[in-house]
Symmetry: C2
Subunit: 189 residues, 2 copies
DNA sequence: AAAATAAAACTAATGTTATTAGTTAAAGGG
DNA sequence: CCCTTTAACTAATAACATTAGTTTTATTTT
């Protein structure tokens, strides 16, 4: 076995620091210069932990997807049917509200087709599939339903974050109405 | 009247060039350096047309929203009800497919609360409201429905663009099923 | 037609950034 | 105690946005 001094926590510390910068100052402020300053090291030293800015973005995407999953998974425990879908929906948008930078990083990998990124995303998809299984959708309809749910949740979160919803109308009410309409519509046919 | 030499077409030429760069090479390649090179001028000269990179992003957002509106508006002519909603939905995602960079720029303004940006977006919202009016939703439900439709369309487009839909399943079929489920669900209650 | 004026181009310079190359310190495994 | 790996460092480079000050260009006005 080759020697490996104190790896494991190191990279996670870095990602946490990067996540804080992203949440507080915005994703565009996550530069190697700012990240190094926050960690008390020099920018070139970061190349020992990931392959440049692109490598950081990839690791942040995976880290963010895992964070999201950690919040989604427990929300769906002990509930089923409509209630379960509403539960993970609320958990999803609340995560995006609480961690706007980390959430944004979720979709900012240089190559979203990358195997590691896809693998992290697969867990979230599987969770959605399980929650939607109660509706007993036939064949491909279950997969279309997963796409619909993800589209709604991501679109809603992204638009809310970028100030796309201007009107004075309660956002949580909107989400509940939208989700209920979608699952009722999927169930109907 | 003060002298104004050949303004009017100038800025639109610049935005078209920026849009081409965004569509072909990605939004991150829309730099002042690349844009100036494409236009055959030096980077500092661009400051005569907009206020730096932030100013360009704002103008590109407005330009992109207007482009989107130009494609959406005619698609809803001569149709109504479900057919109209499906028509603008297809027009929306097809625009994002054909102009991924310009579409992305739509939500990349430094300040989405900016009055000019909001004003451009308002036209798209009004169009959605008109199309959904056939469903005779009561009170706030019409506004919630607009939010739902926008969430679906933006989420679907963004996820498709970033490779978020991995599975081998026809995307146009997904969109039709999702939209139909949503409007049927909204109508039901 | 000539002069005045305003827009839009330019050069030069600055500060920030990511990145590479080569080097040094440090820590765990044999 | 030595070896190897990791992770830090310094120094240097290239690309970028941006500012300041200047010159060209073209239209408007006299």
């Amino acid at each position: 076995m080759s020697p490996r001094p104190k790896v494991g926590l190191e990279i996670n510390e870095i990602l946490e620091a990067a996540g804080e910068i992203a949440d507080v100052f915005g994703i565009q402020e996550v530069t190697l210069a700012n990240l190094a300053k926050k960690l008390g090291i020099r920018p070139p030293s970061l190349y020992n932990h990931f392959d440049g800015l692109g490598g950081l973005r990839k690791k942040m995407a995976i880290y963010g997807i895992n964070c999201l999953y950690e919040e989604l998974a427990p929300s769906a425990i002990g509930v089923s049917g409509d209630e379960a879908v509403l539960a993970i929906s609320n958990a999803y948008v609340n995560f995006a509200r609480k961690h706007p930078g980390i959430y944004e990083a979720t979709l900012m990998a240089p190559d979203m087709e990358d195997e590691d990124v896809q693998q992290a995303g697969a867990k979230v998809v599987e969770l959605s599939v399980r929650v939607l299984q109660a509706f007993e959708l036939k064949g491909d309809r279950a997969l279309h339903a997963v796409r619909g749910l993800r589209s709604i949740l991501h679109g809603f979160s992204a638009l809310e974050q970028s100030g796309g919803f201007k009107m004075d109308l309660d956002l949580n009410v909107s989400l509940e109405i939208i989700i209920k309409a979608f699952i009722n519509g999927m169930r109907a046919s």
